[in-house]
Amino acid sequence: MNARNIAVYGGGILFGFGLACSGMTRPEVVLSFLRLDDLGLIFVMGGAAVVTFLAINIVPKLMKAPALGGSFRPRVSVLTGNTLIGAAIFGIGWGISGQCPGSAVASLGTGNWPIIVGLAFMFLGAYIRGRFIRDRN
């Protein structure tokens, strides 16, 4: 274990605690958002994005580089057809199961063992993407 991985693990503990605290580790809560019965999820994603926005935009003005090395770069990506087709397919899976990758992993820590089925199929889906969809160069 190097310092970077320990730092990621520590931040991950906060991340997982927040996911469990906000109920995102419960597929039922996510599904009630997607049925528009309880719109709380907006505050989870919004609250997390605002705090992260402050970190990404203010910290690089105070520090030249991350404390443990590396560099500060915003997360930007190129918009392609696959971005939107993939997001639509993800949305359908999200609406069927109430799971997303982070919440499903954290859900294991709440004792929710049936979510192992969802995670196994997420790996299968990621494998199918790598096996059958050609990468653009």
Binding site: G11, R35, T52, P101, P114, M122
Partner: protein, 152 residues
Amino acid sequence: MFPLGIEPYLIGGIIIGLGVSLIYVLTGLHATQSSFFTTTLSWFSKLPHFQEERNISERDWRLALCLGLISGAVVYTFTMSPSGMFITGVDSWRLALGGLLVGFGTRLSNGCTSGHGISGIASLSTTSLYAVITFLVFGIITAHLLEFMGVL
């Protein structure tokens, strides 16, 4: 609209943001989740897609992030959870079919609720904004269709 209030959601979201921010300030890495599936498969598959240099170099910290997420949820469950451990009542076929589409879709889209929804939006990426709108719209339509069909 908010039968349970907004506090647990807002507090949870801020804690998630603090975790993502801590990782960014210390390492410059964006703590996003769906790449974890691809980087972890690089240990098991020789396919070029999984053996890309980026996947090999990221796979150890992405595993550390995954273990952190689980540990954080364990801490919550045994300290503050009002109801203790949780077992979902959502059917296995929905977890399986939904999981398959989530795994495939997030990797095709290069991001999920954390990658596009938190780090991408926080980076003011228009690509991520379009992705978030897309998965929200399709998620809401799908959940309503299932409700309409009597699958609850």
